[in-house]
C-alpha cells in the first residue's frame, strides 16, 4: 500500500533515512496487526478478530498491564466484547487526574 505523503515545506529538514525504514504503518496499512499501547510500549500484535477481553487476557502478563485499566479502540471507549480489526489501535490506560497545581 502506497503511503500517503505530502510535499516537504520550504526549510523543513528532510527526514533521516532510518525514519523511512522504521516508520510504522499508517492507519493499519496492509498488515493484520493491531497496535497495542500501554505506557511506553507500542507494539503490533496479530489480534485481528480477537475480542478486547481476550487481547487483555493474552497480553496482561507479558506486558505487565495493570488490572483495572480502561480499554480504548481507535480512541473510543470499548468493552471487553468488542472485536478487533486489522489496523486498530488498542490502548490500555489507567485513569489519572490532571497535571499542574491544584486550583
Amino acid at each position: 500500500m502506497e503511503r500517503m505523503r505530502r510535499r516537504r515545506r520550504p526549510g523543513e529538514p528532510e527526514a533521516p533515512p532510518e525514519y523511512e525504514a522504521q516508520r510504522p504503518q499508517e492507519n493499519g496499512g496492509a498488515g493484520s496487526g493491531v497496535q497495542v499501547i500501554w505506557g511506553a510500549t507500542a507494539d503490533s500484535f496479530d489480534l485481528a478478530e480477537m475480542t478486547v477481553g481476550d487481547a487483555y487476557r493474552m497480553l496482561s502478563a507479558p506486558l505487565n498491564i495493570a488490572p483495572a485499566v480502561a480499554a480504548l479502540v481507535n480512541g473510543n471507549a470499548s468493552d471487553a466484547n468488542h472485536r478487533l480489526a486489522a489496523g486498530d489501535v488498542l490502548e490500555f490506560a489507567r485513569p489519572a487526574g490532571e497535571k499542574g497545581a491544584r486550583a
Binding site: 511506553a40 507500542a42 489501535v89 490506560a93 499542574g100 486550583a103
Partner: protein, 270 residues
C-alpha cells in the same frame, strides 16, 4: 593483633599506614578510579520498556525513555475553558498522533528529582551522533527551572515499590494520562502548546490535530518540529550535573570530604 590499616587522604594523595608504617601511597585519582572499578554500586538491572539511555551516578540515575510514534487518547483542556486547571476546567478526550516522545529524567533514590524534560524526535535514538531533539507542542511542557522542556509531574502518584520500572512506567502514564491544561502557562509563564500552535495547520487546534490523526496516524512524524539545538546525551549530562555533581578533574581530599558528608546525610535520611 595487627590492627586495621589506616587511610590518610590529604590534598591529592592517599597513604595507607599500619602501625605508623607507610605501606602504600597512591594518587587520589588512581585510588578513586580503583574504588569505582571495584565497587558494584548498581546491581544487574532489567531496564524498563522504553529506556534507551541509562546513566547512573552516585545515588542518581539519568534515563532517556523513548515512546514510539503512536496515536493515543489524551485528555486536553478545551480552548473555551474558563478555568486554566483544577476544579471547573473543561476537558475533552482526543485521539492524537505523536512522533517519538523522549523523556529525560533524573531520579534520585528512585524518585523524580525535579529534573525532567520532554522532547520530540522523528527517529528512534540510535547513536550518540544522531540524538538531536525537537521542541514539542504539549501543554504542561515549558521553558522553566533552567530546563528547556521541563515537563510537569506535579501530581505523579508515589510508586508502589520505588523500582526503576515502576517509576518510569508511572511517569509515562502520568505524562499521557493526566489531563493537559494551562497550569504551565499560569505558573511557569509559558507552554509549548501555546507557542507551537502556529507551526503547522495540522496542530493549530485540537480539532485540526484530531482530524489529521484520523487521516494519517503517522502525520506527526512529518510536522516540521523546531530543533531544540541539543541532544539527549548533552541534556542528560547537564541535568545529572545539577543533581549529582561529578568529580571534576583531579580528585582532591576536599571533594572526597564532600562525598563522605553527602553519604552520611543520605544514610541519615534513609
Amino acid at each position: 593483633m595487627i590492627g586495621d590499616p589506616e587511610l590518610r587522604i590529604a590534598g591529592t594523595e592517599v597513604t595507607v599506614t599500619l602501625r605508623r608504617k607507610t605501606l602504600a601511597r597512591a594518587t587520589l585519582a588512581d585510588f578513586v578510579a580503583s574504588v569505582a572499578r571495584a565497587g558494584a554500586a548498581w546491581p544487574d538491572l532489567i531496564l524498563p520498556s522504553g529506556v534507551r539511555i541509562f546513566r547512573p551516578r552516585g545515588d542518581c540515575v539519568g534515563v532517556a525513555v523513548e515512546v514510539p510514534p503512536q496515536a493515543r487518547t489524551v485528555r486536553w483542556i478545551e480552548d473555551d475553558s474558563k478555568g486554566h486547571f483544577g476544579r471547573g476546567t473543561k476537558y475533552r478526550e482526543c485521539f492524537l498522533a505523536f512522533p517519538y516522545v523522549v523523556l529525560l529524567l533524573v531520579l534520585r533514590r528512585g524518585r523524580p528529582s525535579g529534573w525532567q524534560q520532554l522532547y520530540y524526535r522523528r527517529a528512534p535514538l540510535e547513536s550518540a551522533e544522531s540524538q538531536e531533539l525537537l521542541l514539542p507542542n504539549m501543554a504542561n511542557v515549558a521553558l522553566a527551572y533552567h530546563q528547556r522542556c521541563w515537563v510537569c509531574l506535579q501530581h505523579l502518584p508515589p510508586q508502589r515499590n520505588g523500582s526503576l520500572a515502576s517509576t518510569v512506567g508511572g511517569v509515562v502514564d502520568h505524562v499521557f494520562n493526566a489531563a493537559f491544561n494551562r497550569s504551565a502557562d499560569a505558573h511557569e509563564g509559558n507552554s509549548y502548546w501555546a507557542s507551537m500552535r502556529d507551526l503547522d495547520p495540522r496542530v493549530a487546534s485540537l480539532d485540526a490535530w484530531e482530524q489529521a490523526t484520523r487521516e494519517n496516524r503517522c502525520f506527526a512524524l512529518d510536522v516540521p518540529w523546531k530543533p531544540a539545538g541539543t541532544t539527549a546525551s548533552a541534556e542528560l549530562a547537564t541535568m545529572l550535573d545539577h543533581v549529582e555533581r561529578p568529580l571534576c578533574g583531579e580528585p582532591t581530599a576536599e571533594q572526597l570530604a564532600g562525598l563522605v558528608t553527602r553519604a552520611a546525610a543520605a544514610r541519615r535520611k534513609s
